[in-house]
Symmetry: C2
Subunit: 222 residues, 2 copies
């Protein structure tokens, strides 16, 4: 498998699932700004027409996009890792939470808050409209270790999304069950490893962008 990701993007969930499954994959880093892959410097637009990570290329060459699809695909490919209930109402519950995390938290709440191009009105509107979703999540996580009965790909997705709060005005400490869940999940080896690796890559990416910006300014002032 080939796995396309950007450091600390929602693709972190796929990396966590890969580690949980003990699956081997080739990792291709996508620079979120230039949309080029590292280290081969190819255009990511050739892989994803939307320019969005994660993308998974299966061993038979099929490209899979969209978190809910990739995470369920991996869970089904590696059943021994028990990353998703196989079928029935338990699987429906997983799909419910993948959908809630994807639509209400990821797309609804966090994407506008994280977007440096979003005007202040957009951020204010987003907080008014979507902050209450965290109250709902708080209710769910009270007295629970995971979103469902055991660790699933929904937790991999949720922890990746909750990580973003640090770059927003959202303070997870205001939701004690969410904060405790987030801390607990980060103690899980797959999450700790994935996060540490991508944090380092994220810092390298920031440094790269900073050098590029400096070089651009210098070339203009010559």
């Amino acid at each position: 498998m080939d796995f396309y990701f950007s450091p600390l993007a929602c693709s972190l969930a796929t990396r966590i699932a890969l580690y949980e499954a003990g699956a081997s994959a080739r990792f291709f880093e996508v620079d979120g700004k230039t949309k080029r892959t590292l280290p081969d410097d190819a255009s990511f637009w050739e892989v994803s027409a939307l320019g969005l990570v994660p993308v998974l290329r299966t061993d038979s060459g099929e490209l899979i996009t969209e978190n809910a699809a990739i995470l369920q695909y991996l869970a089904d490919q590696f059943p021994l890792a028990a990353l998703a209930p196989a079928s029935g109402m338990a699987r429906t519950r997983l799909q419910e939470w993948l959908c809630f995390i994807g639509t209400e938290l990821h797309k609804g709440l966090f994407v506008p808050l994280l977007d440096p191009s979003a005007p202040a009105e957009v951020k204010a509107y987003t907080l008014t409209k979507y902050m209450g979703r965290l109250d709902y999540l708080e209710q769910r996580l009270r007295g629970r270790e995971y979103v469902l009965d055991g660790f699933t790909v929904a937790d991999a997705y949720l922890v990746a999304v909750l990580n973003w709060s640090i770059a927003t005005s959202i303070k997870l400490a205001d939701w004690p069950a969410i904060a405790a869940y987030h801390k607990r999940l980060h103690e899980r080896p797959s999450v700790a490893r994935a996060f540490a690796e991508e944090l380092r890559l994220y810092q390298q990416e920031q440094a790269r962008h900073s050098r590029a910006a400096t070089a651009a300014v210098e070339s203009q002032s010559v």
Copy 2:
């Protein structure tokens, strides 16, 4: 089953799926403004903590929320209707499209455009950021009758979402394959019936809100 919907909301997709499956259900209309159900005038908040349709109550009393979960549940309950591939890569492709429609089109593009409380800056930002998703969809639908190889719940969802364009500045005619798809889907009996029924209910809802607003003004001017 009990099915909670609001006229012409995304829950239209569930109604289409129910008609396709020939499934019987009790229908509960939720007034989007008052969050009360009709005709029994009960609080919808007791059913959905988020106040969001669709909600499905199964015969064994389980409440299911979220489009991607409900639509896949119905497809699996009524396999003869062939509303979703049962498994494998074909199922992954269905999940990919349910996720794309739910996150990029429904939540990303349309929700802010339809929200009367969204400021102009939010609508402008939304169009800039998400309009290109329709180009992607256009590419997909060129030369195709459905999103996947045959009619699936992804089409039920997509047609429900595309209906909303009429209430926005988006002109589907600018995307010929999407416009043709939308028209073609509306000729399908399940879609035509579901849309006609909900359009009537939507008009009744608008009239009800208009009467309530008039009554409120009159009571203030006494």
